[in-house]
């Protein structure tokens, strides 16, 4: 009886806590919308302009999703299916845009257009948003499709090559086999693009998410912002329902190649392949960095010292909070993944999936409306509310990465321990956990980098007196000289890249120590 009670406590108390922290705020948002219309009708805010705005947002995001998925799939194919020198380095460098806030690229490309064409007015359009989002999100498609391509069994491809050409094998065998990965990539990028307000807001393009942000933060029209948030939620859920099953099991990426038996092809013209990949790197990574550096140095006043003075306290606070956020996200992700994979208990993962696909602006509004009570001020008025927002945004990613790691540990490892009398807690700590170190490390690093650059939800919920790097850069950009904004953005980028480099070095040691062939 005691054992059963203990099991139920372990199972349900964290679930209730997670639901209370993240699920209830979203439910409350819907409840407030349903009860707060004052007889004016729940959908009274919907008019021609609303539809035009949603249509425009969907058009931009769909274009981004198509372009980024295509670009990512091509890169994934080249880097995962061909034997190419420095393949790992290309993968790492092409992954970087995903880890850097799209807002940084927006600032950089604005500078780039000014430098290249003499004025930057042409980037202040839907095309600018599409370009920046495509370059920022294509690595996601590269990871997902590349991972799927590397899991195709050699036999399937070789059987195809026996009867048709390589080109037809790709089109008729490989692409149909990775259809779920292509769909997931498309959907995730569509949702990410639809959710981001920072780039459209920076380029002055009206999108639905940017409109919600404006209504809530600038015009204080809470009821309209809530209604619009619900509408956006409905759109996102409708999109998600299409492939909910695939999305809930989306691997993002697998850090181990155990069990893969994938065929790799020889590149006929390696020089051309390197040239294309280098050009892509220049376009998506080096040009923006170069532009930021150039713009930072172009002003009459050298702005670096001023930028550093402004951003230094924010960066220290950001690094500390991102560490705490990553720890929380990883711990909850580990628990959620473990109970899902080993106990077939899917609710924590479902709650994290739900908050993951909710646009950060909407999540921010939900959290503010839920926690803005005197009794909850210890959360609302402190950095805890930011940690909760980050948990909502990135918990699902950590859960999937660790879940992949758990899937690769045969159940028989734990069963063998169970049969010889090892207690469940010891089985977890002495058998499963040591084998999961690489996955946990990867989840932590990714969560850290994402928390460090998160703007959407942080912008909505950050409490007074708290200065965080992306928020500081975004807010100061509205009134400061361009060179100062660029300098601050460049420093933010440098801090992010430095963190990635340090983790990469540490990761090499971790993977070497905890890799069991």
């Amino acid at each position: 009886m005691d054992g059963k009670l203990g099991k139920h406590i372990v199972r349900f108390v964290p679930l209730l806590l997670l639901f209370g922290l993240l699920g209830l705020p979203l439910l409350l948002l819907v409840f407030q919308w349903l009860t707060g219309a004052n007889g004016a009708g729940l959908l009274s805010f919907i008019n021609g302009d609303t539809f035009a705005l949603i249509g425009n947002s969907l058009l931009i995001s769909s274009t981004v999703a198509v372009l980024a998925t295509f670009m990512g799939t091509v890169c994934g194919f080249w880097l995962y299916k061909f034997k190419l020198a420095y393949c790992g380095l290309y993968k790492l460098l092409l992954l970087l845009p995903l880890l850097i806030s799209p807002y940084i690229f927006a600032v950089a490309w604005k500078d780039g257009f000014y430098w290249l064409f003499g004025n930057s007015s042409s980037i202040y359009s839907e095309y600018g948003v599409i370009m920046v989002h495509t370059f920022a999100f294509f690595p996601l498609a590269m990871l997902i499709t590349g991972s799927a391509l590397s899991r195709i069994h050699t036999g399937f491809e070789e059987a195809g090559l026996m009867v048709v050409s390589f080109r037809k094998t790709v089109l008729k065998i490989m692409l149909p086999l990775i259809r779920p990965a292509l769909t997931i990539s498309f959907l995730l990028i569509l949702i990410f693009s639809l959710s981001d307000f920072s780039v459209p807001a920076f380029f002055g393009v009206r999108t639905f998410t940017a409109e919600i942000f404006t209504q809530f933060s600038a015009l204080y029209n809470f009821s309209l912002a809530t209604g619009q948030s619900i509408l956006l939620l409905i759109v996102i859920f409708a999109l998600m329902l299409i492939e909910a099953h695939y999305l809930s099991d989306a691997p993002f990426f697998s850090i181990s190649e155990k069990g893969t038996n994938s065929k790799q092809y020889t590149v006929k013209r390696p020089f051309a392949a390197h040239l294309v990949l280098c050009m892509l790197l220049i376009l998506v990574l080096l040009t923006p960095v170069f532009m930021l550096a150039l713009q930072s140095l172009s002003g009459r006043v050298f702005f670096f010292a001023k930028a550093w003075e402004l951003i230094r306290p924010a960066s220290i606070q950001s690094l500390k909070l991102a560490s705490a956020g990553a720890l929380l996200v990883t711990l909850i992700g580990l628990w959620s993944a473990y109970v899902k994979e080993r106990k077939k208990h899917r609710w924590p993962d479902f709650i994290l999936l739900l908050t993951f696909i909710v646009p950060p602006t909407v999540l921010g509004i939900a959290l503010i409306r839920y926690y803005n009570l005197p009794s909850l001020n210890f959360i609302y008025g402190t950095s805890m509310i930011i940690l909760i927002a980050w948990l909502g945004k990135f918990g699902f990613i950590a859960s999937r990465i660790i879940g992949n790691g758990i899937k690769q540990i045969p159940v028989s490892f734990e069963e063998a321990a169970s049969v010889i009398g090892i207690r469940p807690i010891d089985r977890f700590f002495k058998i499963s956990l040591p084998l999961l170190v690489p996955s946990i490390f990867t989840a932590f690093v990714l969560a850290f980098i994402l928390c460090l650059g998160e703007l959407g939800a942080t912008m909505m919920v950050y409490p007074p007196g708290m200065e965080l790097m992306p928020v500081k850069t975004f807010t100061i950009g509205a009134n400061a000289p361009q060179a100062l904004t660029s300098s601050m953005t460049l420093i933010s980028l440098a801090i992010t890249l430095l963190s990635i480099t340090l983790f990469f070095i540490l990761g090499k040691w971790v993977f070497k120590k905890y890799r069991y062939a």
């Binding site: 045969p410 028989s412 490892f413 069963e415 063998a416 321990a417 169970s418 049969v419 010889i420 009398g421 090892i422 207690r423 010891d426 002495k430 058998i431 040591p434 084998l435 905890y514 069991y516 062939a517």
Partner: protein
């Protein structure tokens, strides 16, 4: 009293039926081979005995005590005094050979662990591999370690799920010889899953032939060899 008894056991994986109204007893200290084609329920039967699966219906008894019944595990796996050698061996990759074998002994806070492990390693001729990790061993050595690990905790029942598939006959003979010696000394009950009838004929006291979750035939080696049941004849001839 029989060591293990199944009474009207049924088992489902989702919608798929793996065992159907299955009743049988296994004698203490004897070797029983479970013989049958892939997917006939042999592994499920072992997992039910080990307490790694719950029966959908019926009762599992060990020494007359109910250990599992309909959708319920009454005695957890580690209290059943069982050794289990898995098909994939399940050697923990982050432990070396010594640690793999000693792990269960340490958790049970047994004395003289070093000498017990050393004795087993010597018995199987892998004394020099104590500090090696599983990925540094050959297939046969891994199998030796798996057997040694399961014997270390001195089980009263040893369950072997086709652990000696894919190794050469000489090595298989060697391992089985060691196993028989230890079984003779310790008198544990051995249940050995295989789809190779020649192997079964060599080591079994009793043979249980299964097909699609049901017992087709059960008896001594001679009884099975002379069986007039069409499925048994066909299986043995193939």
């Amino acid at each position: 009293m029989h060591k293990i008894t199944f009474e009207h056991i049924a088992h489902y994986y989702g919608e798929k039926e793996t065992l159907n109204d299955f009743s049988i007893s296994f004698e203490r200290g004897k070797t029983t081979c479970l013989l049958g084609p892939s997917g006939c329920g042999k592994t499920t039967l072992l997992r039910l005995i080990a307490g790694l699966e719950k029966p959908s219906n019926g009762v599992v008894k060990i020494e007359g005590t109910i250990v599992s019944r309909k959708k319920e595990i009454i005695v957890p796996p580690h209290k059943r005094k069982i050794g289990f050698i898995f098909q994939d061996l399940a050697l923990w990759p982050h432990f070396n050979v010594y640690q793999n074998i000693a792990f269960g002994l340490k958790e049970k806070k047994q004395k003289n662990i070093k000498s017990k492990v050393a004795g087993l390693l010597d018995l199987f001729g892998i004394g020099d591999k104590a500090r090696k990790y599983p990925h540094e061993l050959s297939g046969g050595q891994k199998q030796m370690v798996a057997v040694a690990r399961s014997l270390a905790v001195q089980p009263e029942i040893l369950l072997m799920d086709e652990p000696l598939a894919n190794i050469d006959t000489h090595l298989k003979e060697n391992i089985l010889q060691h196993l028989r010696t230890i079984q003779h000394e310790r008198q544990f009950t051995l249940l050995y899953v295989t789809h190779d009838h020649r192997e079964a004929m060599k080591i079994a006291d009793y043979i249980l032939v299964m097909d699609r979750g049901k017992i087709v035939a059960a008896g001594t080696k001679e009884e099975i060899r002379c069986s007039s049941i069409e499925f048994v004849k066909s299986f043995l001839n193939n």
